[in-house]
Amino acid sequence: MADRASFDEFYLGTREGVLRQLTAMTTDPDLAGDVVQEAYTRAWQRWARVSGLDDPAAWVRTVAWRIAVSHFRRASVARRRLVRLGHDAETRPQHESDTRLDIEAALRRLTPEHRRVLVLHEMVGLTVLQIAEEIGVAEGTVKSRLFRARAHLVAALGPDYPAAVDEPPVSGEVGR
């Protein structure tokens, strides 16, 4: 019973934030909803262990990301060819703002791993070291990805957006 209560408290307290993070990582809210839901289900199946982790939400976020990557791969061929055929715009909700569509389009031009690192640093607020631990790569790799992600995003946004990515501005000072 205590397990249920603690899981429910954890789930209700963290699901919105994790969903927002995965939505930014995937640029697809429906996919994000699916993978976040699945990740929390797996968390409950292993709650005795997951609840003892320092940051159970990070575990859920990582599992959700891995599931999302699998979805990316599954759908990527058809989706990519659909874009080439010019049909992609038909699948977008028409009420979306131009600004948001521009940002999403720019984000989609990043690799998934670049988006992930960008969200973890800029949105979740993890330090480079924390990101390296969460995704299992070296700190230098995180810095490199962060720099490239920012540069590519600025380039993808186009000249209407102010660009200030002229150095590797990666620091470890951002707290959680």
Binding site: L12, D30, Q37, W44, R73, A78, L82, L153
Partner: protein
């Protein structure tokens, strides 16, 4: 001036506001259900092993007037596996896919030949073959030149009396292929408009009423039927699968009196799904027979529904892991 990356990301994250997640009880119930099913499979497996052991013991000690020396059990020959386990567990052999990634989705065997299908699409460009074949489950081969399916993503495969049938997705959406030997694959026409996107065939099965494949078409669940696998037509009036919610067909199963298609429906943009079922006596006329089943997030996982194991007498039980790195194939030798 600098770009406010946080604000940009928050703008995109705001789209999640229209997504509603399931209540905690549904999440827990879904997880508990999986655990129960896993435990049930373990119990059934143990019962089968014990029953087999008793049967073997009786045959050895039976009518010959007493126990006889038992022939030594041959040691399985080393197969060059990089990760063969010494404790009698399955040996794991990665499929060599060269520069291409490959995530195995399903496996089938016919006349001693194994076929694994999966997703070889790259995140950025191109991809490798979506199918590999092997006669020993250790050395895996690509399809013949010009004989590979024109896709990077096959989702399911079964064996038939005349070869293999596979389904998946291509540039236009739902797609199907057939092969006599697993080396050369031929496209089988699927009755579906070429919309692409998330439209795809996700599963295939063989029944006494013919072959059935299911997936998404036009954003709705779709069901296709084929008598011989050479072409696929809609299985009856598809409007029965088009509910005023998002719906999914999870499988096709034979039951007394016909077929049943378990599925999941959920309000659009919601994860609060319910189990549903469609039924048919002839495979052509389908009716929604259950629309208020227990709450669930979606279909049972591949470990329950997928074609993840195949076996033959010489090689033993061969399995793929849908949750693994992707291209690992485990082999449990017949003697282990």
């Amino acid at each position: 001036m600098s770009v406010d990356f946080n604000a940009l990301l928050r703008e995109v994250a705001d789209r999640s506001e229209r997504v509603s997640l399931a209540d905690p009880e549904t999440v827990r119930r879904t997880g508990d259900g999986r655990v129960r099913r896993r435990q049930l499979r373990v119990v059934i497996g143990l019962v089968l092993v014990i029953a087999l052991g008793v049967a073997v013991g009786r045959s050895l000690l039976g009518s010959q007037g007493g126990p006889r020396p038992v022939e030594p059990i041959p040691t399985p020959t080393a197969t060059g596996s990089p990760t063969a386990e010494a404790n009698g567990g399955p040996a794991v052999h990665p499929i060599e896919t060269g520069p291409h990634r490959f995530s195995a989705h399903a496996i089938a065997v016919r006349n001693g030949r194994f076929v694994v299908v999966g997703d070889s699409s790259q995140l950025e460009e191109g991809g490798g073959p979506p199918v590999y074949w092997s006669d020993d489950a250790v050395q895996w081969q690509e399809p013949a030149r010009d004989g590979a399916p024109d896709s990077h993503n096959l989702t399911d495969v079964i064996s038939t009396d005349s070869g293999f049938l596979a389904v998946g997705v291509d540039a236009g959406g739902p797609a199907a292929w057939r092969s006599v030997d697993g080396q050369t694959w031929v496209r089988s026409p699927v009755d579906a408009p070429a919309r692409g996107g998330t439209d795809a065939l996700w599963g295939i099965t063989s029944t006494r009423l013919g072959y059935f494949a299911w997936g998404f078409d036009g954003g709705h669940a779709g069901l296709w039927r084929s008598s011989d696998g050479t072409s696929w037509a809609r299985a009856g009036d598809q409007r029965v699968f088009d509910l005023p919610r998002s719906e999914t067909i999870c499988a096709i199963r034979e039951v007394d009196g016909g077929l049943t298609a378990p599925g999941v429906v959920a309000p659009r943009g919601s994860r609060d799904g319910r189990r549903v079922a469609w039924s048919s006596t002839d495979g052509s006329e389908w009716v929604l027979t259950r629309d208020d089943g227990e709450s669930t997030i979606w279909c049972d996982p591949p470990a329950v529904l997928g074609h993840l194991e195949a076996s033959n007498r010489d090689v033993g039980l061969v399995g793929i892991d849908p949750y693994g790195e992707g291209n690992d194939v485990s082999v449990t030798a017949p003697d282990s």
